[in-house]
Amino acid sequence: MTFVKPAFRHPDAPRNELGRSRQDYEGGLSTLCAGCGHDSVSAAIIDACFELNIEPHKVAKLSGIGCSSKTPAYFLSGSHSFNSVHGRMPSVATGANLANRDLIYIGISGDGDTASIGLGQFAHVVRRNLNMTYIVENNGCYGLTKGQDSATMDTGTPNKKGDLNMYSPIDLARLAIEIGATFVGRSFSGDKQQLIPLIKAAISHRGFALLDVVSPCVTFNNHGESTKSYEHMRSANTDMPVDFVPMRQEITATYDSGATCEVCMHDGSVVRLYKQDNDYDIEDRQSALEATSHYAKEGKILTGLLYIQRDSEELHDVLDTARRPLNSMNEQQLCPGPRFLDSINAGLR
């Protein structure tokens, strides 16, 4: 099959503050199945970066292996990207971030890449509070190897062969909250209204931001009994609408439904949430865990910003590294020179 991407764009297409159009944030044509949830996530990332006025070259995209990990090729073609090995994106992202703290790091992973082969690295990148946005495109199955069960598949749901999964699922959002993540959101690839502001908030968050995005696999896991299907998400999603107001922008939008809660981010941006449940405090770890399990017991999936810790020390704060990126230093800053070596030699005689 040959794809040809139309080059034509409307001359009056809107431009952002950098004078860039949405097209400047696009990538290559997707090779995923038609209707794949992942393509909607890519589109949401494009919108979020366009609306946040991010310069594409200031973003580094990282991924592991799997359908989801192919997607960095489908957005932000002006950014460098690293499609690494299966389950190991967190370590590559960590090294990259240590080398240059001035870029924006967006990691794309899947449920196999994160919850199975990469669970170890995932847990540790959360613990280290690496300043990055980590998006899991979660479809409950292994798409690229044709539909095997993944570790996020719910107990008792059938796979493509009709066998029931009898293992207990890993809830990545809950796990991340438990082990110290400072920003955890859950969303659905089909809910652009919620997903775009959540991505914007995640990118603006200083520290590790996890977005667990249910993103149905249309080919292998989109049947009625799957909890990762379009149908199920549309019926069971208890969504918490999210609005993101970047720094310096006046808050004008108003919503009627539910209670409003505003969270001011470190850079002055504001995330506004419209919660269904007033007892739930998204800045309290325990409360966040209770809310997700409360909805889960009712067979519902709570989406939106689940937990945020606004002021946290990201990895560079913990390590106390120089403000200037390490990759920009040269002999002058780094090499002690021969005289110090003479003193070393003298001490070894």
Binding site: A73, V92, N100
Partner: protein, 626 residues
């Protein structure tokens, strides 16, 4: 009975209990000999244990400057009753056995061909100290004091060393010197000092690797300093013996040398990763993003890193890995030495991969090769693996001083700046062989608003880094990587070749820590009329000098510390000379550093019983005129 007599030429071994503070006393003993200007090479022979198991410290003293293990023990200092039976048995006839005589020696341990010196170390400690910890620690200092009388170590040298050791903790100096004196006085009062084997001040000339003005240091610290000097800013690692002290030392020097004077912030980052996979992933991420990054590990870690090594090879990301080898396979013997990662390192990962290896033989080379490794990694955009081992990494070696040229500039390789990208006429192709050397140009993320971005991947790509599964593109790319490996041959350190004085068709090949005992073995054999040219390999891929050496000799003994003759196999695999019959494996793999006697014995055996007639001895000049 004939008691052994020698000056500045012996092997002494200490039998201690692990975790009792003996290491620093033993190290002081070796350093005192070094400061007396006598070539010395100490080795810890220790268990994988924190406290309680037997541990040994072997010190080779060699007027002739031999730094490898000789084989055999002349003097045993036994302060561990656990191992006393085997310790007695190990002493060579005519040798000396120094033991704790607080309890009488078991009569079954009395041999009539060695000399016994009983010193009641425990009794002295019980008498002098009340604190249990002090009794334990000072016992070690007391036996060093006794040895200074028995072996004629200059007492002032020991006093200076104590002062050096406790700089900043002056309160500890006097009690330590007192403990030295306790031992000294006991020995002088009870024995004829010095004994037949003893020391006299000399000029510390260690030879064979190079003749030099020496320092005494361990290879891991030297490698760490190399990383500091090379401008490494990111170190990611996972604790594993015997490599841990590389990053420990890197940390120590960075705290001193890498703090920004203006802000007090760190111009480096060290991460203890969750495993070796992650450690190498971080190194690759940092290097991809333009920082110099490295990791240090041992064989089991390299196994875990091999997937990432393949990615770095194919994605062409500079990577520096220090492999401090230990005995394998599997977890093997963590505290024993070997050179058994050669083949794994050379071909680590799936698919067609080959990696550049460097083989340091001295701490000075651990330093210089680590500095060089960062340049090579960036020049070649590929992993560089430094093949050290436990013996070199964790023991103190006499070595040439560390040297660094004030004008040295880092070679950051082919990296395009924003200006370069603006001035380019053709389109940037990440994997295009512009210069014909197989090395493409790269860009750092974020370099330019509109140019130079590319997609790095472990799956196939075309010259512009676009995804393709086209077979021709794949082959073109793999062949370019091979061309790059050819280019590496001209950049890596050349072998060190020494011609025998006599014309010979025999050669010996070795690398790393095998060099010292091998050079000594060659001299032993030379005295017996067996002459060998030698080649110390310092890197892989092999360049034409290696091929030529193989071509020019009829029989080549490849001496290495592993079971399967891994360097020999690599030579067979990676040189164009048909040499299967020529290359004779000379192997040691018991986990202890190979001895000169063992090497000499194996070669002698081959020559005298292997139906090989040695050439008549003629000098090269005679050969020409004949």
């Amino acid at each position: 009975m004939q008691a052994k007599q020698s000056i500045n030429d012996f092997v002494i071994k200490f039998a201690n209990v692990n975790g009792t503070g003996s290491a620093s006393a033993n190290s002081m003993f070796a350093k005192a000999i070094f400061r007396m200007g006598i070539p010395v090479s100490p080795r810890n022979i220790f268990p994988s244990n924190i406290q309680g198991m037997p541990t040994w410290y072997e010190v080779r003293v060699s007027q002739d400057g031999y730094l490898g293990r000789r084989g055999g023990i002349d003097i045993m200092v036994c302060v561990n009753p656990q191992s006393i039976k085997r310790d007695v048995a190990e002493v060579e006839s005519g040798g000396y056995f120094i033991y704790d005589s607080t309890k009488p020696l078991d009569l079954r341990l009395v041999r009539d061909d060695i000399n016994y010196f009983g010193i009641p170390f425990t009794d002295i400690c019980l008498r002098e100290y009340t604190d249990a910890r002090q009794r334990l620690l000072f016992k070690n200092v007391i036996y060093v004091g006794a040895l200074s009388a028995l072996l004629n170590i200059e007492f002032n040298v020991l006093k200076d060393l104590v002062a050096d050791q406790f700089k900043g903790k002056e309160k500890l100096i006097t009690p330590n010197i007192y403990a030295l004196e306790l031992g000294y006085q006991y020995a002088v009062t009870h024995f004829d000092c010095p004994i037949g084997i003893h020391l006299e001040r000399g000029h510390k000339l260690a030879k064979h690797i190079e003749d030099f003005d020496n320092i005494l240091m361990d290879g891991n610290t030297a490698a760490a300093l190399g990383a500091v000097y090379a401008g490494a800013t990111v170190a990611a690692w996972y604790p594993i013996t015997p490599s841990t002290s590389v990053v420990d030392a890197f940390d120590k020097y960075c705290r001193r040398l890498r703090i920004d004077p203006g802000t007090g912030k760190k111009n480096y980052a060290i991460i203890q990763a969750e495993d070796e996979l992650s450690a190498l992933g971080m190194v690759i991420g940092a290097n991809w993003n333009g920082a110099r990054a490295f990791t240090a590990t041992s064989g089991p870690g390299v196994s875990l890193m091999s997937e990432f090594l393949g990615l770095a090879y194919f994605a062409e990301v500079p990577t520096v890995l220090i492999d401090v080898q230990r005995a394998g396979p599997s977890t093997g013997m963590p505290t024993r030495t070997q050179q058994s990662d050669v083949l794994m390192a050379a071909y680590a990962s799936h698919g067609d991969t080959k990696h550049v290896l460097l083989f340091p033989a001295t701490p000075a080379e651990c330093f210089s090769m680590t500095v060089e490794a960062f340049d090579l990694a960036e020049r070649l955009q590929t992993p560089i693996i430094i093949m050290s081992d436990l013996d070199l990494g964790m023991n103190e070696w006499m070595s040439p001083p560390l040297e660094f040229d004030a004008d040295f500039k880092y070679d950051r390789g082919k990296v395009l700046s924003a200006a370069d990208l603006d001035n380019m006429e053709e389109r940037f192709g990440r994997y295009k062989d512009v210069d014909g050397d197989g090395i493409p140009y790269r860009t750092y993320p974020g370099v330019h608003p509109d140019k130079g971005a590319y997609f790095t991947r472990g799956t196939s790509r075309d010259e512009y880094a676009a995804y393709t599964e086209d077979g021709d593109e794949y082959v073109r790319n793999m062949d370019r990587l091979l061309r790059k490996f050819e280019t590496a041959k001209s950049l890596v350190p050349e072998p060190k070749i020494k011609q025998s004085e006599m014309e010979t068709r025999y050669g010996a090949v070795f690398f790393g820590t095998t060099a010292s005992p091998a050079y000594e073995a060659i001299e032993i054999l030379e005295k017996e009329g067996i002459d060998l040219d030698t080649m110390r390999i310092r890197s892989f891929p092999f360049n034409h000098e290696v091929e030529q050496f193989i071509r020019e000799h009829d029989r080549i003994f490849v001496i290495e510390q592993n079971r399967d003759g891994q360097m020999r196999r690599l030579m067979l695999n990676e040189t164009s000379v048909p040499a299967k019959e020529k290359l004779i494996p000379i192997l040691e793999y018991n986990g202890l550093p190979v001895t000169a006697r063992k090497i000499a014995g194996m070669i002698r055996n081959y020559v005298t019983h292997g139906n090989v007639t040695p050439l008549t001895r003629r000098t090269a000049a005679e050969e020409l005129s004949a």
